[in-house]
């Protein structure tokens, strides 16, 4: 499904991206505006050719995000919001031991916002929306009984969500959709700042130098990059195919 195409690359794990040759190829393809095909990390690599691939779930369950159209871009956002909402829902089912009232309120509020984002996008997309994605937090070693694990994972989601929306804005053709995305992304950025401050209270981490560059710019990631390098993709077990 991908071997002959020069403008796509198939990845089976995040670690693969750190291999120099793969990373070069990924960046080359990304620079061409090409597509990245994400295979779930829980399955073995399929190699360079298309004779392998995921065996479970079956290949026909692959969800395609066609980023050449606004519904495709909004579905990309919907995928991320599904992931975030599922995470915080699970967090709230059994908060980690020793959680303070303030932290519980923050995580509850954020979870509520993410569910609202998810349901809003589902409603806006209507019949154009992608199916519910399968997510797996245990497979990505999230320990919901650990404060550090929960907050660190939340930080990945919020920083990654900000970078994802920032990078996807240019893909939207309708300025009304751009405005809608803008209404959501600044709330994600508020979340990111709060989560970061819970992890390292009272520091400069809320807008740390690791996410804000010397020009004062936050991160902006291409979709393929978000689902690989930012670490968000490791939680989604439904195979996703990105078409640009």
């Amino acid at each position: 499904m991908h071997g002959e195409r020069t403008r796509s690359i198939t990845l089976s794990s995040i670690s693969q991206l750190w291999e120099a040759s793969t990373r070069r190829e990924f960046l080359r393809v990304a620079a061409l505006g090409g597509s990245a095909i994400l295979l779930p990390t829980l399955f073995a690599a399929c190699g360079d050719d298309d004779d392998g691939g995921p065996v479970d779930p079956p290949p026909d369950s692959t969800v395609t995000l066609d980023l050449s159209s606004d519904p495709g871009v909004l579905n990309y956002a919907y995928a991320l919001e599904q992931l975030e909402a599922a995470f915080y829902t699970q967090v709230a089912q059994s908060f980690y031991p020793g959680i303070t009232a303030a932290e519980q309120q923050v995580l509850t509020d954020i979870g509520g916002h993410e569910v609202i984002h998810r349901d809003f996008l589902a409603g806006a997309l209507g019949s154009a929306r992608i199916p519910d994605l399968m997510v797996d937090f245990a497979g990505a070693n999230v320990d919901f009984a650990s404060r550090f694990s929960v907050l660190s994972t939340a930080r990945i989601f919020e920083d990654g969500g900000v970078a994802a929306y920032n990078g996807a804005g240019k893909l939207l053709k309708d300025v009304n959709n751009l405005l809608t995305a803008g209404k959501i992304v600044s709330v994600e950025a508020r979340h990111a700042a709060v989560i970061r401050d819970l992890i390292r209270p009272g520091t400069r981490d809320f807008a740390g130098d690791d996410v804000v560059d010397p020009s004062g710019l936050d991160q902006a990631f291409e979709p393929g990059f978000v689902l690989q390098d930012s670490g968000l993709g490791q939680f989604i077990t439904t195979p996703l195919e990105i078409i640009s």
């Binding site: 349901d119 709060v194 400069r204 936050d218």
Partner: protein, 261 residues
């Protein structure tokens, strides 16, 4: 304050250039427009022209990308000078360590935004607006702004929450240039991070519920009006928190105006 809308004088050269150039082009041909543009860019814009500019805005003329970036630069000038003045003033020594950390980091970013926009605007063929003269006491409304941490942080929250809405409102106006759009979004989310931290340092939630200004002074209400908008089918306080709302250029300029001397 000597004029009704001083900020318009500082921000108008590009809008005026287009308007006057268009008129001149109709009458005498386009060759004169360059000279007019140069003259406008160099001179401080007379009051009469500022009034014309106001009319242009009133007619909802779509601003050019350079107009938008000069608008953003004006806001960044305001934020940058506000924090730098605070950090150099009496209020700095009254801030807690977390407050000082936050203000220093925010100040660093606002200075970077000024530098960034000042570099980007010429690359698009524009001329960066001249920095206005600011009066953060707002003609005496906040006399202790740089000596009282409560006042200082209250204005900081107002400026950051306004900044988020200002950038959001202009995204569509720069969407034709993907590079500029992405950079604007990247600044937009940094402003939101700032806002969240300053809000929490002041004992507020990081996000905005309904149109609540919390314990901010009444002068800050315009920064929150409209935040109660409902998106989608869910109508609840949480639903208003989940979406930040835009402000128009005119709304933002009205908020900033009291701080322009």
């Amino acid at each position: 304050m000597d004029q009704q809308h001083p900020i318009l004088e500082t921000i108008e050269p590009d809008v005026l250039t287009r308007v006057v150039s268009r008129r001149e082009a109709l009458r005498t041909g386009a060759s004169t427009s360059t000279a007019i543009a140069a003259g406008l860019a160099m001179a401080s814009v007379p009051v009469a022209l500022a009034a014309i500019a106001r009319d242009v805005y009133a007619q909802a003329t779509t601003p050019s990308i350079v107009d938008v970036l000069n608008f953003a630069l004006t806001l960044e000038y305001l934020e940058d000078e506000f924090y730098r003045t605070g950090l150099a003033g009496a209020v700095a020594s009254t801030l807690s360590a977390p407050e000082l950390n936050a203000i220093q980091q925010v100040s660093k970013h606002e200075a970077a935004h000024v530098q960034f926009l000042t570099a980007v605007i010429p690359s698009l063929g524009g001329t960066p607006v001249v920095k206005p003269t600011f009066d953060f006491t707002a003609a005496g409304a906040f006399p202790d702004v740089f000596s009282n941490r409560v006042t200082f942080l209250a204005l900081a929250q107002t400026f950051e929450d306004t900044g988020v809405r200002a950038y959001k409102g202009q995204a569509g106006n720069v969407a034709s240039n993907a590079t500029v759009l992405t950079a604007a979004l990247q600044i937009h989310s940094v402003e939101a991070r700032h806002a969240a931290q300053i809000r929490r340092l002041r004992g507020q939630n990081g996000w905005i519920t309904n149109n609540e200004r919390g314990d901010l002074p009444p002068q800050s209400q315009a920064t929150y009006d409209g935040e109660e908008a409902i998106n989608g089918s869910v109508s609840s306080p949480a639903a208003t928190e989940a979406f930040d709302e835009p402000l128009t250029m005119e709304q933002v300029l009205a908020i900033a105006d009291p701080f322009i001397a």
